[in-house]
Symmetry: C2
Subunit: 280 residues, 2 copies
């Protein structure tokens, strides 16, 4: 998880010592419920009345036993010999996830990514409503994005209180993320989705989930490197004769480059590996 998990499992170190698992559904299951919901919604739109665990599992990309066990945490909603009622299950999962409520969210930092999120259709269709777009840059405030005016962060507290916002999305540059986070929490936000590459410190009772685009790519690169030459690994891959690597990727293999690591000039120490989006 990936994961995520994620995912996944998805480790959430910022949440700290106490998991907010109040008696109930395992975290791994909760992380998969949206997956099932998406597959079920597609079936519902095709007016499919019932679905077996095998079919639904295939549509969601998981193991059928895992799916059945996941559903068992919600209760017994299936009929043996038949399967699950699609509409009923859609409702049960939606209710369990809290999607039968209206969730106003604020997006802070309207750069490229904030722009993309504001326009993302997957929010509105799942009960999430963008209550406000916020940015600290006076050049950005006032613009209309996705039909909403970008408002200045000075209004943050007022908006959060009046609209009863409990979920905040941070898409600011990393330097501003913690400060924005603190203000969000102080104003009453208790769940934060953080896209800035920063570790956020939050008090107990506040949930933070993070999405880091470059981390995902780095994990892929690791596996990609493994798939490519393992020429400096000799012992193990003999048993695992899965040499199914059809394409030679841009190799330019580093081949260990010597142990002596020039300290002081490791490698890329250049500035500017941050988001540059909030500027625009």
């Amino acid at each position: 998880m990936a994961t995520g998990r994620s995912t996944q499992h998805n480790p959430n170190p910022a949440a700290g010592t106490r998991r907010s698992r109040g008696r109930g559904i395992p975290d791994a299951t909760v992380a998969r419920l949206p997956l099932y919901l998406r597959a079920l919604t597609a079936l519902s739109e095709r007016s499919v009345p019932t679905v077996s665990s095998e079919e639904l599992a295939a549509a969601a990309g998981v193991n059928s036993a895992k799916l059945r066990k996941d559903f068992s945490y919600l209760g017994s909603y299936g009929t043996r010999g038949v399967g699950y009622d699609v509409e009923y299950l859609v409702y049960q999962i939606s209710r369990e996830l809290g999607l039968t409520q209206d969730w106003p969210v604020v997006i802070v930092g309207i750069g490229n990514l904030g722009h993309a999120l504001a326009n993302y259709g997957g929010f509105a269709s799942r009960g999430f409503r963008v209550a406000a777009l916020l940015d600290a840059d006076p050049a950005t405030t006032g613009n209309v994005v996705a039909g909403l005016p970008v408002r200045h962060t000075d209004e943050m507290e007022e908006i959060i209180r009046s609209e009863r916002v409990s979920i905040g999305v941070i898409t600011t540059p990393p330097g501003a993320a913690q400060q924005v986070c603190d203000r969000l929490v102080a104003a009453g936000v208790t769940s934060i989705l953080n896209f800035a590459p920063t570790v956020l410190n939050v008090p107990d009772g506040v949930d933070v989930r993070k999405v880091d685009l470059s981390i995902e790519l780095q994990i892929l690169a690791f596996h990609e490197q493994r798939k490519a030459g393992d020429e400096y690994r000799d012992e193990d891959e003999a048993a695992d004769a899965d040499a199914e690597v059809p394409s030679a990727p841009a190799a330019a293999v580093v081949s260990t480059a010597g142990r002596a690591v020039e300290p002081g000039r490791g490698h890329g120490n250049e500035r500017g590996q941050e988001y540059e989006e909030a500027a625009g």
Copy 2:
């Protein structure tokens, strides 16, 4: 997590039966290496020579024992009584992740999100190079985004082969994702980062990681609902006297799923054991 695989460990069922873990570094550790790398890079920029596992763990937001165990999979790079050499560790982790190589990537689907990713500075600084931006819409091709021209997907195969691209990023609408994925794989791509809300089918040997923005929000909504009142749960938490939630979220019932369902039916959630750890 991602959770995932999320990430978390992010579960990647599409990768199929056999994990390509050549009996090396655990997946959970690999997923954390970019986190350590980021923290170490920040220390390096401040010219901090060495760091203890305790300090670095705090900066990365993880447990120090976990960090030490993670590093133990890479080898013994620390000095007892002192800590870890920052520059040396930056190099070792970069090498392990394959970031000392050049990784050309293609981004397919230059909508809002593709636009944001093309401008994302976190790629170039980590050894990733955007080899091409691709889109199927003639109205989009030809535009210049982040200094690169958007090229038509007709050129996909040619670009992938000539630039030796092995990593592809899919930011298309969900309907086009599988088709784009198939073409990427056929042309030689063996790692895919999927932002489309679709389950991708890929052959063995191809890694897929997915990032779903709405899933993360749904997971937050679940926990948020838990934190707010469980008033419609009957057997509720008498023991959980954690009523520290100042803001009640706006609870207007949603419009979506409401038909042919009897919400009155009791749920059969009979998990007796509760793992709640005493609230602080």
